[in-house]
Each structure stands twice: as C-alpha cells, then as structure tokens.
Symmetry: none
Amino acid sequence: MPAPGRSHGRSDKRQRIIEAAVEVFAEKGFFGARVSEIAEAAGVADGTIYLYFKSKDDILISVFEEKMTWIVRRLQEILSPIEGAEAKLRRYVVEHLQLVLEQPKLIQVLTVELRQSARFVKQHSPKGFAKYLAVIGHILDEGQRTGVFLTSLDTGLFRRVIFGAIDEISLEWVLGGPPADPHAAAHQVADFILRGLCVRGHPADVPQIDNRET
Amino acid sequence: MPAPGRSHGRSDKRQRIIEAAVEVFAEKGFFGARVSEIAEAAGVADGTIYLYFKSKDDILISVFEEKMTWIVRRLQEILSPIEGAEAKLRRYVVEHLQLVLEQPKLIQVLTVELRQSARFVKQHSPKGFAKYLAVIGHILDEGQRTGVFLTSLDTGLFRRVIFGAIDEISLEWVLGGPPADPHAAAHQVADFILRGLCVRGHPADVPQIDNRET
Amino acid sequence: MPAPGRSHGRSDKRQRIIEAAVEVFAEKGFFGARVSEIAEAAGVADGTIYLYFKSKDDILISVFEEKMTWIVRRLQEILSPIEGAEAKLRRYVVEHLQLVLEQPKLIQVLTVELRQSARFVKQHSPKGFAKYLAVIGHILDEGQRTGVFLTSLDTGLFRRVIFGAIDEISLEWVLGGPPADPHAAAHQVADFILRGLCVRGHPADVPQIDNRET
Amino acid sequence: MPAPGRSHGRSDKRQRIIEAAVEVFAEKGFFGARVSEIAEAAGVADGTIYLYFKSKDDILISVFEEKMTWIVRRLQEILSPIEGAEAKLRRYVVEHLQLVLEQPKLIQVLTVELRQSARFVKQHSPKGFAKYLAVIGHILDEGQRTGVFLTSLDTGLFRRVIFGAIDEISLEWVLGGPPADPHAAAHQVADFILRGLCVRGHPADVPQIDNRET
DNA sequence: GATGAATGAGTCTTCATTCAT
DNA sequence: GATGAATGAAGACTCATTCAT
C-alpha cells in the first residue's frame, strides 16, 4: 500500500509521465513527439516534466531503463522456475510475444526507438538492453552446459540472432497487427529456434518430422 | 547507356546527393542530419537539393528505393544461378553479411533508419523492402516446393524471422564493428537457420552433430 | 532595541533574504540570479521569499533602499562631527572607498545593478540614491557657503561628477581587486577633487605643488 | 560608392541589425530586449539575425566592439592635431559630451549595459573599453611628460577617475535629459578636471579665481 | 540549371510566482 | 507563518524550404 502525501504524489507524477511518453512516442516517434503532448497526455503542466526529467532525451532514456528493467524482471520470474533450457527458451519466445500482444505501444517504442536511437542509447542506456540480452544468453549457456544445445555455437552471436528474430516479429505485429493465431506462430518460431540450437535428438517435444509426415 | 551532356550532369548530381545522404544519415541519423550538411558533403548548394528531391523526407525515401533496388538486384544476380534452396539460403546469408562489411554506412542507414522511419517508410516506400523480403520468400518457397524445407512453416512469418536475425547481426557489426572472423560467423548463422528450416536429413552439408562429436 | 518574539523572527528572515540577495546578485547579476538561489542562500523555502517581498524586482529595490539608507546613515554619522567642508569631503572619499574594501559584494550590487537597472530603479527606488547624492551635495553647499569651494560650480552637476569618479574607482576595485595601497589611492583621489573644487589657496592641506617640488 | 550585390547586402544587413540593437537595447535594456524586436526594428526576419551573430550575447558584444572602435577613432582624429595636453583634455571632455547629445541611445547602451555586463564584457570584449581608457591615458601621459600635469598622479587611477566623472554625467544626460546649457556644463567639468590635474600656474586658460572674483 | 541568403514557423526549456498542505 | 511541488507563459534559437539573382 503506497504511502500517501508527497512521496506518493512524486512517484505518481513521474510514472504518469513515463506512461504518457510511451503512448506519445509510440504514436509519433521520439522526434515527432512534442514535450507538451507528453505533458498533456500525463495531465501535468509542461514545466512539471522538467521536475522529473532533465530533458526530452532523458525521458526516452528513462522509459528504456524503467521498462526494460520491468520486462527483464518479469521474464526472469517466469523463466526461473522452469526446468530445462529447451522449455525455458520456448517459454521465453512465447512470453515475449505475449508481451507484444499485451503492450504493443511499449514494445513499439522499445523496438523502433531503441534502434533509431541506437548510437545514442548505446551510450546512455546500455544496461537495460544488455540485461535483456543476458536473459537469452543465460538460457543458451544453460543449454550448452546441460548438453542440450550445440556447444559449437557462439552464444554471444546467437543471443543476438534469437533476439533479432523475435524483435522483427514483434515489430511486424506491432505495426501490422498480430496474426490470426499468435500462439501458433509463437510456437512455430520457438520450434524453429530450437531445431537450430539443439543437438540431434532434441528437442524431444519438437518432432523432427519430414515433410511426408506433414 | 546513359545519355550524355546535361542529363548525365543531372544524374551525376542526383547520385552525389544520394551518396552524401548515406554518409550523413549514417553519421547523424535522419533527424540529426541537416540538409545543408548533405549539400556540403555532395558539393552542391543547399537549394540544389530541391531540384532533385521534393523534401528531406524524399531524400531518405529515394535512398531506400535506390539502394534497396540495387541490393535486391545484386542478390538476385548472385543467387539465381545457384542450384538448391539450401545453398541459396546459405549464400544469401553470406552475401548480405558481406555487404555489411563492404558498405557499413549504407547498411546502417537501411537498418537503423528503416526501422525508425518504419511507419513513415511503410507508407512511402514499401516496394524496396517488400522486394527484399521477397528474395528470402522465394528461397523459402523453392525449398518447400522441392521438399527440402519443412512445408509446415509459414513462409510469410519465416522470411521475417530470417530477415530479423540477419538484420540484428548487421546492426551489431555496423555499430560495434565486425567480429574477428565474419566468414565463420556467417556460416554459423546459416547453419542455424538451415537446421531450423530443413526436413530431417537436410541439410546434407550441415551435419546434425551431437555435442560429443564436437 | 528590536522587538522580541515573532516580529523578531520575521525581521530575521527578511534580513537573511536581503543579505542572501546581495551575495547572489553580486555573483550572478540581477537577471542571472534565480529566486530559488536566493532562497537557498537564505536558508528558506522559495515561497517564503514572497511572504516578505512582492517580487524579484522588489527584492532588488529593497536591497537598494535598505543598504543605501544604511550607508547614508553611516556616512552621516562619520561626517557630521567633522569640521570644515574640505575635511568632510576628504573623509567622504576615504570612507566610501573603505566601504568598498569592507563590503565589496554590496558595493558591486549597488554599483553594477543600480546602473543596469537605472531606468527601473529611477522609477521605483529614487529615494536611496537621492539621499546618497545629497550627502555629497551638502558638503558642496557647506563648502560654498563657507567660501572654501568655488561658488561658480553647479553643485547639482558636481555632486554627480564626484560620485561618478568615486563610483568608477569602486567598480574597478570591486571587479579587479583593490590596489596595493588603497589608502594612498583614496587620498590621491581626494586631493584631486579638492584641487578641482577649492578656491585658490585651498585646500590648506593639499599643497598646490608644482612638479619641481615633487 | 558602395559595391553592389552580395557583399553590400551582407554588410548592410549586419549594420542594420547593429543599429536596431542599439535602439532596442537603449529602450528596453539587454535583458528586456527580445531578439524578435531587434529583428523587426532592423527589418529582417528573426532567423536572419543568426546569419550575422552567434547569439543575443554576440549582438551586444558586437555593438560594443564596433561602436567603441568608432568612438575611439573619432576621438583620436579630433584630438591628435590638438597641441597641448590641457587643450586635448578639455576637448576630449567636450567631444564626449557632444557625443552624448548626438547619440544618446548609443551612449546609453554603452554606459548602462557596459557596466551591467561588466563581468561578462570584461571577459568577452575588453579591447574596446581598454582602447577608450587609453585615449585618456595618453593625454595624461603627455601632460606629465610635458610638465603640465602633476607627475605624482597615478595615471592608471586617474584615467578611470576622469572616465567615471564623464560617464556619470553622460548617464545623467541620457536618462534625465541634457541641461539647458550643455556646453557650459562641459567646460565647467573640464575646468574642474584640469584644476585637479595641473601643476600650479596651469592651466593658463583656467583662471584660479577666488570667490570674490566670481 | 545552380546558388545561398533569407525566411519564419516551430519547440524545448527556464523560472518567477502561486497555493494546497 | 512556512513549504516546495506545480504551473504555464515566454523566448532564444534552429533549420527545412524558397526564390531572386
């Protein structure tokens, strides 16, 4: 239960600005967004923005930091109890895409603006993104340690390959709308990745059918 | 054969502006780039830009159209004589990443700004990107037709999955520099994708080793 | 004797704000100074300022009124027992420059900001400045009455001439630091003014030497 | 006859902005002046200002440099043919005050804003002011060399004393309007200064009358 | 066709002031 | 009285675009 009074008012306003920024950045893009639009969407005065953020850039950076941290924690909470790298990876794919369905605007901002501001964000906000990649990296490491994933794979490379694949699908869904059966699509993608990663015989639950069986 | 005289001078200037825009957009991003910087880099006056392009937006769109067309043609010329969807796909991966090494600034613009301007480009310049995706799509179709790739895969989905994976690696190389052995990395990625796509037993040249064999 | 209790607390805060304003105005200038800086320097909240002053302008005006009144009273107390216009004028010069050494920040504010806000201050705060000029004016009047100063001099003009000379030296000392021997400088200036003002034969204590005697 | 075409247009615009800035700074003060007001007064667009000046500060600095240079040259041209330090000094006083009558707004800006921006101008634009003081300094040096002025005087000190006296009178005339007979006032001031500076017996043309003679 | 000086609309940011607590 | 979070009006500056030469 949040404490009343100032400290609550303060966090409350800051959070409202963050959420408003996600909306406006998603709709107009970072450069197309006006600080006054964010203020209006947050229900605060223009100047109030600057009580909580140093600049417009700082809003974007803060959105990254805050939301990436939140996503990473959410993923970690879901994934940590799961046994087995294969199951973890499958669940990761499903959960990320679930997130896209739940919060398309947030994902749009993170996906579109993260890249567009790549140089700038790489300088100012590398932590959030690095932690996200680490989520994938840990699964890959575990899979290699337990002999499920091919040890010949460069995990530094493949965590980006996997991220890129998921990220592109996220973008597609966010801009073009999700497909009729997102769940099936998510599992197709997970199957694909697992076939690519796993030692022969794995994954047990992804029958390496030949086309005749289809 | 290009017409001589004036019209050649004309294309020459237009082309110089396009190349200059690639440089400047790569260095500063679309929004950070000034039209006057592009003009200076192209060795023309500011106003001259507007003899060849309607607006700053139009420069970006034209860069896309022109360069995407060029890339697609280049890929098609390389891929069309190749026999077999597996070999074609492998070569596609290698060639795209080769392009990243050869023209990092161009790839940076296409990769970073394409996404950033996603909505805007989706509206104004969908052709180039669609044609690029079609290059991957055709390979997938051929693979399914010839029974090499799993027919259960939604090619509309997987051409984006593959594009996303390659695109992310491109971004990494462009912003962080290429790895020590880009050729090996390219083949690792190609192996991964082919394992994901192929019917059991394929690809013939990608031994589905288990970790003991490694 | 100051009133005890609340009213003392009240004047205390008001006075602290005045002193803080002198510091901040001296350091940043009137326009460069932030009300919040003055509040911080005074150890009060921003809003508290407005319990004692109508506006930022009002702070400056109050500084003038208060400090000018104080300076005028101090000068009058020192000068009134002194016999003779010449001695009075000399002492005035010495005491003003002494003040510069003692309270450079105050003098800086009065000297720099008074002029910069000249129009504005002329409208809002003429009393303090007029009283200061009157100090010089009274000395001039006395000197003319007692036949020591030339009666041909327009005292309205010369009180400004004298003020300007002293003011400029004050500014120099305040911004560039005082000279090695400020006392000697003060007397040189006093000698100069007295030679300019006095009837031939005066001042008795300023021998009208020719250069050979030097 | 001014050269036609670009270079003329350019200097012309820059000069118009300078003159407009003098008007607006005189009327509103530096901080009260809006860049758009200067632009309007100069008959140019707001943005045009920034083709000729880096910032609003730069306009003020440029006004100083340019006008101080002009004034110093004007004074030097008038003073250099004059024989004798006494006559030179008298003429300097008269000419400076003549300038006040001719161009009160310019003098107001130089007098009021110079001081207000003292710290800032001392950093950015010391040359113009130093040259102005040097005009007075050279006269004092010459007077001491030729045995007309007291050699005991510190010329570094007295050039400021003299400047301060004249500057204060200038301010008075500029803000309160000139007196009924400015010429007489100028000579009264010159007489005063010369009596203060000169060896006994000098100045020949300033009879050291006693009050009875008046 | 080519130029580049000029334009002026557009926006981030500051900060004096207010007022609910 | 005291606080300081909130306000919002105001302005310096940028830069894509135009057009007279």
